[in-house]
């Protein structure tokens, strides 16, 4: 085994948060022992609460005040970090150790221009006395390095004027400005979309080579380390449970927990064999939308200004989108973030003012949404939800029929229980409240509410993005079952190309508020005609190895 130069050596580190009441709590880090080799990209994987962030904060010296290091040591380039005084450790930050974090939207001071914030990195370290011009040059150079062509302009912008990806680049520029030897990246991509993620990871890798930096890459997503990290460590409950090269971890996991993580990350194997109902494209569509154009409201003054002849299109999010969904069809709708998918859905559902026409044959359209947390009203029971759906459908009278109050109630109950059971949940769930249910169960209740209304079309807006792989698979199964058995069409919005491949006979790709490509799923995905589709496929391939 070749000897490596470890830039960081964490030696049997144990860390806990003792309180007055509980002086000996369960350690947050338990005997963590590892090294980071000079120049490598080390992945640190684990679920939330596994201690990966604490590990990185311990290295950086940014642990909360209440944290107590019970034993162990951390060496950085041979120097013991824990023996240094706080001032010395602070000086190392930015200069020797750089950090970037998960949420680029809040990681920059909203009141300060990006240029000024980057300048602080330089002024904070007195050793590097620089003239203002020099500082400015260093900053613009670094901004160019991280991929900005308009570095000067970025300097004078406020954070809210930049996109998420741009902000993350600015943060990377800040972290890399003094060319630290170690860059700690704490989930830098988890709030970014696939395409941006790929580009940020590419940038980090490039910086790593260009500036000879070592990267500690923290993520909860095993698939994100593919093709990026050299080595991967897996953490669970404050312990490092697995440590190996990336390819071994991904292809040949020795540890059972790693294997479990890996299976959970893979949806594709579980949904093989789901077959959607056959579609008759000759019949009249259940939904046909023509020339939908929509945008968000503007203030009175902007509207006044508009009349004086400035640009018209900037607040429009959708441009003349036309769309048809046929009976029994599961239509996939894909596109990057900001492509206008959600706006389209809201327009179709009549929640947004828009121009153009929407024709829906069925009286009701069902809808399920992305966030399982907010899809049900936390103040009411499941039974109330189903009753409300029944009431709103206008069929309540019909269901209740005639008879005594008790008879009516029994019939209603039977009806809503039937809908719930069709979604795989028993009658015992009726009296529960949403916070007692898991995300997948809540989405099922949402579907049950749709079923009560007996719609011919259900619009599903990214229903899987917040669910884990097994729940997603269950939900997909349910959707295809409903599709087959109840002849319900679906309009499925997703960013997950696997799913589209598996269950959608037809797919529509959106980009910049327009439909850029549509057709048979096989044709579109195997032979993309538009750049947007290609970019989506490329990012997916890089990230998930498809």
């Amino acid at each position: 085994m070749p000897r490596h130069i470890h830039i960081v050596k964490v030696h049997h580190l144990t860390l806990s948060f003792p309180t007055a009441k509980n002086p000996n709590p369960k350690p947050v880090l338990d005997d963590v022992d590892f090294g980071i080799r000079d120049g490598e990209i080390l992945g640190l994987i684990g679920n939330s609460g596994s201690g990966k962030t604490m590990t990185s904060l311990a290295i950086a010296g940014l642990l909360p005040e209440s944290a107590n290091i019970d034993s162990g040591s951390i060496k950085f380039a041979g120097k013991s970090l824990l023996d240094m005084n706080p001032k010395e450790r602070r000086r190392m930050l930015g200069k020797d150790i750089g950090m970037i974090f998960q949420e680029p939207s809040t990681a920059l001071d909203p009141l300060m221009t990006c240029g000024k914030q980057l300048e602080e990195v330089l002024t904070a370290h007195k050793e590097s006395v620089m003239e203002p011009e020099e500082r400015h040059k260093a900053i613009t150079d670094m901004l160019q390095t991280v991929g900005f062509t308009n570095a000067e302009e970025i300097c004078s912008r406020y954070p809210h004027q930049l996109s998420g990806g741009q902000r993350q680049r600015v943060l990377i520029a800040g972290a890399a400005l003094l060319k630290p030897r170690l860059l700690i990246c704490d989930e830098p991509t988890s709030s970014l979309d696939t395409v941006t993620t790929v580009s940020i990871l590419g940038l980090l890798k490039e910086l790593c080579h260009q500036l000879h930096m070592t990267i500690l890459f923290i993520s909860h997503d095993l698939s994100a380390v593919r093709g990026f990290c050299d080595r991967v460590m897996v953490m669970k409950d404050g312990k490092i449970v697995d440590k190996d090269t990336t390819s071994d971890i991904l292809n040949n996991p020795k540890n059972s927990y790693t294997a479990e993580l890996l299976t959970n990350a893979r949806l594709d194997t579980r949904i093989l064999g789901l077959t959607p109902a056959p579609v008759d494209y000759e019949s009249s569509p259940v939904l046909s939308a023509k020339d939908i154009t929509a945008g968000y409201g503007r203030s009175l003054f902007e509207r006044v200004k508009k009349k004086n002849g400035s640009t018209e299109s900037d607040t429009k999010v959708l441009h003349e989108v036309s769309l048809k969904v046929y009976p029994n069809e599961i239509l996939g709708l894909i596109g990057g973030s900001g492509s206008g998918k959600t706006t389209l859905i809201r327009s179709l559902l009549g929640l947004l003012p828009h121009s153009g026409t929407v024709n829906i044959t069925s009286t009701r359209v069902g809808a399920i949404f992305q966030d399982p947390v907010s899809c049900l009203n936390p103040a009411h029971t499941i039974k109330w939800h189903l009753n409300e759906a029944l009431r709103a459908s206008g069929k309540a009278k019909e269901i209740k029929g005639d008879g005594t109050f008790d008879e009516k109630r029994a019939r209603t109950l039977e009806w809503i229980t039937g809908a719930l059971e069709a979604c795989g949940l028993g009658a015992e769930y009726l009296s529960r409240r949403p916070n007692e249910l898991s995300g997948g169960q809540r989405q099922r209740v949402a579907i049950a509410m749709c079923l009560i209304q007996e719609p011919s079309l259900i619009i599903a807006d990214e229903p899987f993005s917040s669910l884990d792989a097994s729940s997603s698979a269950e939900l997909l199964k349910l959707m295809t079952t409903i599709n087959r058995e109840r002849n319900t069409a679906f309009l499925l919005i997703t960013h997950n190309i696997h799913i589209v491949r598996q269950i959608c006979p037809r797919v529509v790709v959106m980009s910049n508020g327009r439909i850029c490509e549509e057709g048979n799923t096989e044709d579109v995905l195997n032979d993309p005609k538009s750049e947007a589709t290609s970019a989506l496929l490329e990012a997916e391939r890089k990230l998930h190895g498809i």
Partner: protein
């Protein structure tokens, strides 16, 4: 996020506030409940021969310039203080909810109109508005309650409006709209129950503020009518004699502060525990 949570945990826990608040409020409420059945003396019975008796066994809180027993008066004053603050808050709450939820739900011109009205009311220093309202309609307990209710309604309307604006963006409301539920039903059955957690601390703090206002108005002679009294009225009556009979100021002030502080502590406890639970 994590460190914010931690600093909250290290602050005195919600239960400390609860206990302190319940004890303080409990004293006042106990005085109120007991006064409904029994007071040591008739709170309004004067006795010129027993003026300005210092606190003693027979009169634990002393007597006032009419020779009335202050303990009995304080006990019966708690009735008016509690009644005015509770009724006033109820009115403010009802008005605020009726105005605030539609403003937040519909947005646009409905919102602009309602908020403009609310802002206009808030433009007057609260006490000024209450004073003028009572001056216009006459000084009586009912009018004080209405005036205070009106003054406080915009505060509740704001809470409701902001809460509604947040909640209406949530998927379950969107879902209800897609299902075709009528706006009135969405606002009352879907949104309102979820506002309760936000309205609760606002209500408790509103009770405390209402008491402060009421005592200020009583001080200016525009509140409860003699010989009855609220804490504020007792205080304003006592001020003429506070050098001769400081106990006339001390005991009502103590009860007033107990009541307000008790409410503050409970609202603080509610706020802390709700913000923890909301995570």
């Amino acid at each position: 996020m994590s460190s914010a949570n931690r600093s909250l945990k290290r602050a005195p826990g919600a239960y400390v506030f609860y206990i302190a608040g319940v004890i303080l409020l409990g004293i006042v409420v106990a005085a109120f409940v007991v006064s409904l059945f029994w007071t040591p003396f008739d709170p309004n019975a004067t006795n010129a021969g027993a003026k300005f008796i210092k606190p003693c066994l027979e009169h634990p809180f002393g007597t006032d310039n009419f020779g009335r027993d202050l303990l009995s008066r304080v006990m019966s004053a708690s009735k008016y203080t509690i009644y005015i603050s509770v009724a006033g808050v109820a009115i403010a709450l009802i008005l605020g909810t009726i105005a605030g939820i539609p403003a937040g739900y519909f947005g646009g011109y409905t919102d602009k109109g309602i908020m403009l009205l609310g802002n206009s009311i808030m433009c007057f220093p609260g006490i000024l508005l209450a004073l003028v309202a009572v001056a216009v309609f006459g000084a009586s307990v009912t009018n004080v309650i209405w005036a205070l209710g009106l003054v406080f309604a915009p505060t509740f309307a704001r809470v409701c409006r902001l809460g509604t604006m947040e909640i209406k963006e949530l998927d379950y409301i969107t879902h209800a709209r897609v299902m075709g539920v009528k706006p009135a039903r969405i606002m009352t059955l879907h949104i309102f129950p979820n506002l309760v957690s936000q309205l609760l601390p606002a209500t408790v703090i509103g009770l405390a503020n209402m008491t402060l206002f009421e005592s200020g108005m009583s001080y200016l002679g525009l509140g409860v009518q003699p010989p009855d009294a609220s804490f504020g009225k007792l205080l304003s009556d006592a001020q003429a004699y506070f050098r001769v009979a400081p106990w006339l100021v001390i005991f009502p002030a103590m009860m007033l502060v107990f009541y307000i502080l008790g409410l503050y502590f409970i609202s603080e406890g509610l706020r802390v525990s709700l913000s923890k639970g909301g995570k």
